[in-house]
């Protein structure tokens, strides 16, 4: 029976399968989705891509807040009495089947008028008539077919993010002008008007003013609209006394425009309008290439994209009402259901709380709380419903206060000087001194040519090719990394990554896997019957720990238990032929008192005799040891964990000797730790995964979030690394260093062109046609060089 996979979601279903319509399903949820699709003529879904579906999750009560009108109002893009329009983010969108089924939603419900998927962003825009159909119905329908939308506080707070088309417009304007100006300067390229000795073109000669002034008009929007960003940036740089690369560029553009205008006004020549428009066009092209990244990933998330929009409040008359999170007041009584998030700090009133704080503190073990205990925002309740009393407002909670730290306001890009900018500084100084020396020389020999030479030097030395080298090299690297599942926020991150000399790792979820844990048995061995009974008792339970224990036990016979009982939060009990077995927490299994172990343990007793326990250890990612070993040769490493010291000994064995290990670090401690390293002039890479690392990720030079599934939440960071590629981390850093070397080589190449151009400029022979040839030629050869080299580099990395 090998390879039976669920027809809907592709999950392996050897152990358990629901058969329907001659097809296998891993669970009833998947079968139900199949039925819905089959009944509504949507089974083409399975033809497009096999096993594309997702198992629908239980969502009872989760979307009750969508009944509240004011919330619906905030979430929808458009809303009137009849029609509503909403844009929903659905993380599961991943293939053509998804697009197809979501765009055919109207077959499932006739109230849905139109739905359109934006695949790169993983969103779907749905318009529906709201007379018989509400937003809640829509979300429930989507969840029922396995496409549960992700709605968080983030959607509520900032409503519409308008797409910025400015760069495309500028590029369009520059390209349009470039083409037309080149077309108009064609007569000049072939020297047609002035070449009277060889006959000349009389009529072109007659109308050359028309051509020239048309070129002038075309260049106006290029100078005053398309290249405005360069003037602004150069001005900003000068004001803060930094000579960035935009200074010589802006200078070049200004000089090109003024010299050309003067040339045509005094009929000295045709001007350099073709070079001017071409220059701006190429520059913007570089920007465009650098800018486009992953629209489905967000690198700016804070706690808001993790928090729900609303929560159930129980008022004094014991009525349950959904309340928007910002409206929660101190003293409100909140109902937190199973798997829901605690939105504010509070006091537990009743219920059996087992709270998973792994996301907030890095602690892997869920914490038990009794009524009267304090609970903190950000924890996830795992054990049935609880009630808490809010003791603070949301913005004052312990977790949310982390975001008031000033690092979150700072933009790393502002403080970092890129390689291009640091070259730009020296470049500007050199070019200006060459221009001045050459002018001085000509002033002495032939004053009439001096101005000509001065402007020619500034024009030809305009560092177009230099400023294209980095965008194309790094932009291409960004795409190559993306294909290897290493998603970086921007090209600057690659530059920063190349300089890293210290790497700090979080433990839980970063170097350990979140799913797999290996249980190790301690205690007296179990006999055959006991093992069989244990296995079959575990088989009946759906608890995560039971499932992973079940997988490692050898006994294979399936027997029917006489009785089976599951005690929520305590354990399970099974009997067969007068033998009974108890599996679970220590006080459930035996009356004996145990030392509290730090690691998760499952205790076992057979017929009330205590047998032993399975201890669950964190499982480290494959290759952690090797990654640390190779990295430790070239940089300093450390582990910074929010977890307790339970794993210290194992970590020491796993990692290179003398790797510093720090435990019990709170989020703000992590931030301070990174800061203190940076004060010692270290370039720090932080690798983390949860909200507890958010501060450290923001403070570090490069913060990388490890994620098992890049579509689900990850905290604000500079890069997201797919967990399966953890072993490649160091390779990626090395590749970034190589990319920087490619940029430097490109600089050399473009400087060669500049030297050739300067020869013409200094000797006073710079004709517009030479500039028009040299400039695009240098740009194109630099772009080609950078692209080819990075592709070669990309092929080498795994």
């Amino acid at each position: 029976m090998d390879g039976t996979n669920c027809y809907h979601c592709g999950e392996d279903c050897d152990n358990f399968s629901v058969d329907f319509d001659e097809k296998h399903f891993c669970c009833h949820g998947c079968k139900t989705v199949y039925e819905i699709f089959a009944d509504n003529d949507l089974s083409y879904y399975y033809d497009l891509q096999a096993a594309a579906g997702a198992t629908p999750k239980a969502i009872k009560g989760k979307y009750d807040f969508l009944d509240t009108d004011s919330i619906v109002e905030k979430l929808t893009e458009f809303k009137d009495d009849k029609l509503q329009l909403i844009n929903l983010y659905i993380p599961h969108i991943h293939c053509s089947s998804c697009i197809w089924v979501l765009e055919n939603l109207n077959k499932l419900n006739s109230s849905i008028r139109n739905s359109q998927v934006d695949f790169p962003k993983k969103t779907v825009r749905i318009s529906y008539s709201s007379s018989k159909f509400s937003l809640k119905d829509l979300v429930l329908l989507l969840a029922k077919i396995g496409y549960e939308p992700y709605i968080s506080l983030d959607d509520y707070d900032n409503k519409k993010k308008s797409v910025n088309h400015e760069l495309i417009y500028k590029l369009g304007v520059a390209g349009f002008a470039f083409g037309n100006v080149m077309f108009l300067s064609f007569p000049d390229y072939f020297d047609l008007p002035s070449n009277t000795p060889s006959g000349g073109e009389f009529w072109l000669n007659q109308y050359q003013d028309v051509f020239r002034w048309l070129m002038f008009i075309f260049s106006l929007p290029v100078v005053f609209y398309a290249s405005w960003g360069y003037f602004k940036s150069a001005f900003k740089g000068l004001r803060s006394r930094v000579l960035n690369i935009d200074v010589p560029i802006a200078l070049g553009i200004v000089v090109l425009f003024l010299r050309s205008t003067i040339d045509i006004v005094f009929e000295l020549g045709p001007g350099f309008f073709d070079s001017l428009t071409g220059l701006v066009f190429f520059l913007l092209l570089g920007r465009f290439f650098q800018q486009k990244t992953y629209s489905f990933l967000s690198f700016e998330r804070d706690y808001k994209s993790y928090f729900p929009i609303a929560v159930t409040v129980i008022n004094s008359e014991k009525e349950e009402r959904t309340t928007q999170i910002h409206d929660i007041k101190k003293g409100d009584r909140l109902l937190i259901r199973n798997e829901e998030l605690i939105p504010v700090d509070g006091i537990l009133l009743n219920g059996n709380a087992r709270i998973d704080y792994s996301f907030v503190t890095g602690e892997s073990e869920p914490v038990r709380k009794k009524s009267g205990d304090k609970v903190f925002a950000g924890g996830k309740q795992l054990n049935g419903a609880i009630e808490i009393e809010a003791s603070k407002k949301i913005s004052q909670s312990y977790l949310t206060q982390l975001w008031s730290n000033s690092v979150f306001q700072k933009n790393k890009a502002d403080t970092f000087q890129t390689l291009t900018d640091s070259i730009g500084k020296r470049f500007t100084i050199v070019v200006l001194s060459i221009a001045i020396i050459a002018t001085a020389f000509w002033l002495y020999h032939e004053p009439s040519k001096a101005m000509n030479v001065f402007t020619a030097v500034l024009i030809i030395a305009c560092p177009c090719a230099i400023s294209l080298a980095a965008p194309f090299t790094l932009g291409n690297m960004l795409r190559i990394f993306g294909r290897k599942k290493f998603y970086l926020k921007d090209t600057q991150t690659i530059e920063q990554l190349a300089q890293i000399d210290t790497a700090i790792f979080d433990k839980t979820g970063t170097i350990t896997t979140s799913k797999k844990t290996i249980p190790i048995y301690q205690g007296s061995s179990l006999n055959k019957d006991e093992e069989l009974l244990l296995k079959n008792t575990l088989r009946a339970s759906n608890h995560i720990l039971s499932r992973s224990l079940y997988r490692i036990l050898d006994a294979n016979d399936i027997i029917t238990l006489d009785t089976f009982e599951e005690y929520l939060g305590k354990g399970i009990e099974g009997t067969k032929d007068n033998n009974h077995i108890k599996v679970g927490s220590s006080d459930f299994v035996s009356k004996r008192k145990f030392h509290e172990t730090i690691n998760t343990a499952v205790h076992i007793s057979s017929n009330d005799n205590y047998k032993g326990k399975f201890i669950f250890y964190n499982q480290y990612r494959d290759g952690v040891s090797e990654v640390f070993k190779t990295m430790s040769k070239n940089m300093k490493l450390a582990i910074l964990s929010g977890d307790n010291e339970g794993e210290k000994l194992r970590l020491e064995k796993l990692l290179p000797k003398l790797t510093p290990l720090y435990f019990n670090k709170k989020p703000e401690h992590k931030l301070e730790f990174i800061k203190s390293l940076q004060e010692k002039d270290k370039k720090v890479l932080m690798v983390g995964d949860g909200l507890n690392d958010a501060g450290a990720l923001a403070q570090s030079n490069v913060g990388i979030a490890i994620s098992e599934n890049v579509n689900v939440f990850s905290p604000a960071c500079d890069g997201i690394l797919d967990a399966s590629k953890f072993q490649q981390l160091y390779q990626y850093i090395l590749a970034s260093k190589k990319a920087m070397r490619i940029i430097k080589l490109s600089f050399v190449l473009s400087l060669l062109y500049n030297v050739i151009g300067l020869y013409f400029a200094i000797t006073g022979q710079l004709e517009p046609v030479i500039a028009a040839i040299l400039m695009p030629l240098s740009s194109i050869s630099v772009v080609a060089f950078a692209t080819v080299m990075t592709n070669i580099l990309g092929r080498k990395i795994k």
Partner: protein, 64 residues
């Protein structure tokens, strides 16, 4: 020789028309999502087959 004015005017008007078309297409969001339309385009053909099978099914239903 005024033909050159006419020619220039025509060429520039054509260029500007295309430029306006470009601006309009950007405004309409044609460049926002460059992937999904390429997939969606392939669905239409299959949908026709889907519809014909639907008709057959409707025919079958009354006999049940």
């Amino acid at each position: 020789m005024s033909v050159i004015y006419v020619l220039l005017a025509i060429s520039i008007v054509v260029a500007i028309l295309f430029f306006i078309a470009f601006i309009v297409s950007v405004k309409k969001g044609q460049y926002d999502d460059s992937y999904t339309p390429s997939v969606r385009m392939l669905f239409e053909d299959e949908l026709v087959i889907e519809k014909s099978s639907e008709e057959i099914k409707i025919d079958k239903n009354p006999t049940k």
